[in-house]
């Protein structure tokens, strides 16, 4: 007997007590919880996002839509970044004012090569205010998962307010599960030493978020 038949057979025998006409999934799962916690204007939601990102040690910068290029150029210069990784499909205007050397992410780039790049700039798919979370889905301007992982400095641009949602329940319908998704809440961290949080382990140790939109 194959492992499959054995496991499924055991499951069915174990569930002999479950009536065949049990109520279906839709009826059983009461969703009495909230879609979002509290009512906020889009501006207040953006404020909450900024606060929660900062609470987990992301560096938050707010600017008008027309100031993204200048903001990014300033951040790269302040970091002393000489090279910046550019994922496919990134808005070229965002890097127009930076003097850092652009490194295109190519399919054949090895992890070792990515490790030599100083910074990476990406957009995101959605940002969640209540949890201070950015979600990247690998579409244009967000890159393969590795580009936001190996370099030590990640700058992520969020378009405010259209990319910002209040809560996790409001974020999921905006995401396509068929895409590889990375949820990022602050720079990498660990609680493994005496259950105290320390920032900076394997992922980028510095996460800067540019909230681009009218104040």
């Amino acid at each position: 007997m194959s492992g499959r038949e054995r496991v499924l057979g055991r499951v069915r025998r174990a569930l002999a007590d479950v009536p065949r006409d049990e109520r279906p999934y839709e009826e059983v799962i009461a969703r009495d919880y909230l879609r979002e916690h509290g009512q906020r204007t889009p501006a207040k939601t953006a404020d909450l996002l900024a606060r929660n990102l900062a609470d987990y040690r992301a560096l938050v910068h707010r600017c008008a839509p027309g100031e993204v290029a200048a903001t990014i150029a300033g951040l790269l210069a302040a970091r002393g970044a000489r090279t910046v990784l550019v994922p496919a499909g990134l808005d070229p205007a965002w890097l127009a004012e930076s003097g850092a050397e652009r490194v295109e992410d190519r399919a054949e780039s090895t992890p070792g090569e990515l490790d030599l790049v100083d910074s990476v700039v990406t957009g995101c798919a959605v940002a969640i205010a209540e949890t201070g979370t950015l979600v990247l889905d690998g579409s244009a301007g967000q890159g393969r998962r590795r580009v936001t992982l190996v370099p030590d400095h990640h700058i992520c641009v969020v378009r405010v307010p259209d990319q910002v949602v209040a809560s996790v329940p409001l974020a999921l319908p905006r995401l396509d599960p068929a895409r590889p998704l990375t949820w990022i809440s602050g720079p990498s961290a660990t609680s493994d030493i005496e259950l105290s949080r320390v920032e900076g382990v394997h992922g980028p140790r510095t996460l800067e978020v540019v909230l681009a939109g009218a104040e």
Partner: protein, 496 residues
């Protein structure tokens, strides 16, 4: 489950040694108290916690009650997305499958994401026998692996180690596994984390095979979810060419939407964060991004035996947050090693004896490793009534009865150690069924009360070693009732 724990002493003996270790108790007390207050604050932030908890309970229960259907759906959706699904009835089968898949890549080393399922199957040891080196990459797992130690906590396997001990392990052992610890390494957590970053970096960058577990598998989409903090998970899930995920069959949730519940309850319950730093979700393989080959190994290893128990099956709702460990007064004092399993604490006390059966001394003792205070139930984000299952398992240990082991129906024999207790209970039942006998016995007890010992002799000594014997009244209740007319006339002279 893993052979690592064969021959473990029963919980009371192991705990007795552990509570004498002042360093261990200090480490545990510090860590559990730190996280307790933080978890409470993180949970208090969401006003609908009770509703989220109830939804989580129902989603998991529903899935378990129709698990065959959902497992077939997982198989179909993962396969459609380009993954390859394998089924493992037990630990050996899972380890054999993984070893074969690694051998087929021609590689002799793998990088691992922290995974309870592969701890449970003893995968690292099994791979080592095949000449394959498995590198743990989670910081706490690394500390355990380098220190040739055993994990003592679900979330923070090195919780029993303080920063000074961790520094010593890094200094002494890192060199043998790869890049040695930096010169002059101190015990500040930031420096220790940096040492781990440097040590593991070269392994991540050259890795060709990654091994992981998963926190959730979504049946309708075939999506796997790994929740983590450090980024080691992302490294293992995205840089290698081949990814092998070993996942317990109870990790399934029906729909994409169900994640909205658990992604709110899991981080707050485990690390007391609004959201953990990194969550990875992948569905099969993606052209040009991440591993080109993806294997999913669905693991039973005692889960179907647990599922067959109508009371005990709720343990399979567990999402491995470890909140129950952090609040448990027994865990705080005895530590994780005393539980003799990769699953310590309250959830371990109900999971291990169900996954492994109650045949060994340690597994038969685990249902008793609790004061039944109920703190674990209160914090559980999927509302597992751990005290209820503990009592149920105690009953099984003492009385025996029908159960399922390895997919087969068996009748368990009553445990031998409880013969005296059973004899006492039989005697009590006999006496309570005979009013005359009971009356005579009670009167005799009252008259001889001055001569009663303060502890029981013989097999009863263990019971009275930690308890006071109840004082016997001068007059049995029923005599008092008859004499005073139910308390109406207390003035009637006392019998003696």
């Amino acid at each position: 489950m893993s052979g690592t724990y064969l021959g473990m002493p029963a919980f009371p003996e192991a705990a007795r040694t552990a509570v004498r270790d002042a360093t261990l108790r200090g480490n545990l007390r510090h860590a559990t108290h730190t996280i307790r207050a933080k978890r409470a604050a993180a949970v208090a932030e969401v006003s609908d916690w009770a509703a989220l908890r109830e939804a989580g309970r129902r989603i998991k229960d529903h899935t378990l009650r129709h698990l065959d259907r959902y497992l077939e759906q997982v198989e179909a959706s993962v396969t459609a997305a380009g993954g390859i699904v394998h089924w493992a009835a037990d630990a050996d089968e899972a380890n054999r499958i993984v070893a074969r898949l690694v051998r087929e890549t021609g590689e002799s080393e793998v990088v691992k994401v922290k995974s309870m399922a592969t701890q449970e199957t003893g995968l690292n040891e099994a791979l080592a026998e095949e000449g394959i080196r498995a590198y743990e990459t989670d910081l706490a797992e690394l500390i355990v692996q380098l220190g040739r130690d055993r994990p003592s906590h679900i979330l923070v396997p090195a919780i029993h180690r303080n920063r000074g001990e961790i520094r010593d392990v890094f200094r002494a052992e890192m060199g043998a596994w790869g890049r040695p610890a930096p010169e002059g390494l101190t015990d500040t957590p930031a420096q220790l984390a940096e040492a781990a970053r440097l040590h593991l970096r070269e392994k991540f960058l050259r890795a060709k095979v990654g091994v992981s577990g998963a926190n959730f598998v979504v049946a309708e989409t075939g999506t796997l979810v790994v929740v983590e903090s450090e980024g080691n998970g992302r490294m293992c899930l995205t840089l290698p060419e081949t990814l092998i995920s070993v996942v317990g069959i109870e990790k399934v949730v029906p729909t994409w939407r169900d994640l909205e519940v658990f992604l709110q309850t899991l981080p707050r319950s485990s690390t007391a964060e609004r959201m953990n730093p990194y969550t990875s979700m992948w569905t099969g393989t993606t052209e040009g991004d991440g591993p080109r080959v993806f294997h999913l190994v669905l693991l039973d290893n005692g889960r179907t035996d647990t599922l067959a128990d109508e009371v005990g099956r709720q343990a399979l709702r567990c999402i491995r947050c470890s909140a129950c460990l952090n609040v448990c007064p027994v865990y705080e004092r005895a530590g994780g090693h005393a539980y003799g399993s990769v699953y310590p604490g309250p959830i371990g006390a109900i999971l291990s004896p169900q996954l492994r059966g109650t045949g060994s001394a340690v597994d038969a003792s685990l249902p008793y490793a609790s004061s039944l205070c109920g703190a674990c139930y209160e914090v559980c984000p999927v509302a597992i009534d751990i005290p209820e299952v503990l009592v149920h398992l105690r009953e099984r240990v003492v009385q025996g009865g029908p159960a399922v082991r390895g997919g087969n129906r068996v009748v368990l024999r009553p445990a031998r150690g409880h013969a005296a207790e059973r004899a006492a209970m039989r005697a009590a039942r006999w006496a309570f069924a005979r009013p005359g006998v009971l009356r005579t016995g009670q009167r005799l007890a009252s008259r001889t009360r001055r001569f009663h010992p303060r502890t029981l002799p013989g097999p009863g000594r263990a019971w009275s070693a930690t308890r006071d014997l109840p004082p016997v009244p001068a007059e049995p209740f029923r005599d008092w009732w008859r004499r005073t007319g139910g308390g109406a006339d207390e003035t009637k002279g006392a019998a003696r």
